[in-house]
Symmetry: C2
Subunit: 164 residues, 2 copies
Amino acid sequence: MERKSFVDMDCSVAQCLEVIGEWWTMLVVRDCFMGVTRFEDFQRRLGISRNILHSRLTTLVDAGILKRVPYSVHPPRDDYKLTAKGLDLWPILTAMRQWGDQYAAPDGPPVTITHASCGENAHAVMVCHHCGERIEPRDVKLNPRANRMPGPPLRERTVTAPRA
Amino acid sequence: MERKSFVDMDCSVAQCLEVIGEWWTMLVVRDCFMGVTRFEDFQRRLGISRNILHSRLTTLVDAGILKRVPYSVHPPRDDYKLTAKGLDLWPILTAMRQWGDQYAAPDGPPVTITHASCGENAHAVMVCHHCGERIEPRDVKLNPRANRMPGPPLRERTVTAPRA
């Protein structure tokens, strides 16, 4: 199935996929959070050719995820750093890492994360910004603004995700 | 750049991408959380052909994300429902939706989510499972088990994500 554009799809998940739906995007973002900023370091870690990496980094700069910050004038060289929009991919990256740790790391997590303030393994959970209680699929109600998606109408409803 | 397999990459983000790195996966999972279970409904919402959809759903069943639950014997028909492994994609989906709402929904979020227990807009934030404090990029320390990734060694370090 061809990758298609989601620009016209009235869905924030689809709009997010418009940016991070290319598999390499989150690997570049991962490396940025690990402190990688230099072209040569991305290249060695991702194992891709220079022209392809340059094209991909330019795409992320154009999408406002990365910004170029010069560190040398002669010759001209840039660090690649996350913008605020890029830094806000952190919850997605964290949720992906934790899912991978749980379901696809038979030898244990390759990287563990320590929460600096408490010193414990920083396992992140999602809570409601307002009441601080956990937010699970069964605890929420969908309120679609309108249904511009094809298929069955999404009436206001309580999500009843099936129990596994 | 060709989509390549991440099976040999010692990284949980890459392993997660191995499953959800196909752009259509999270759209199917999104629809499942919205209560869609029937083949015809997925097809209308995703706008793809029957044979391609069948192939994609089979891939997700094989990956343990979805399970088939018969609802008719004559003719044989199945509902597609999320397994526990599929339900655990919820934090990723939620984080993606919220990022899309923030950066790619100029007319406002297409779907808002109400937290049933407090009645407020269910904006999810990530907190530490142990201490309950927020987990932000600057609050954590990476502890790599070993560096089997090419490129610069990832020493134990405090992440110093650049301020945007």
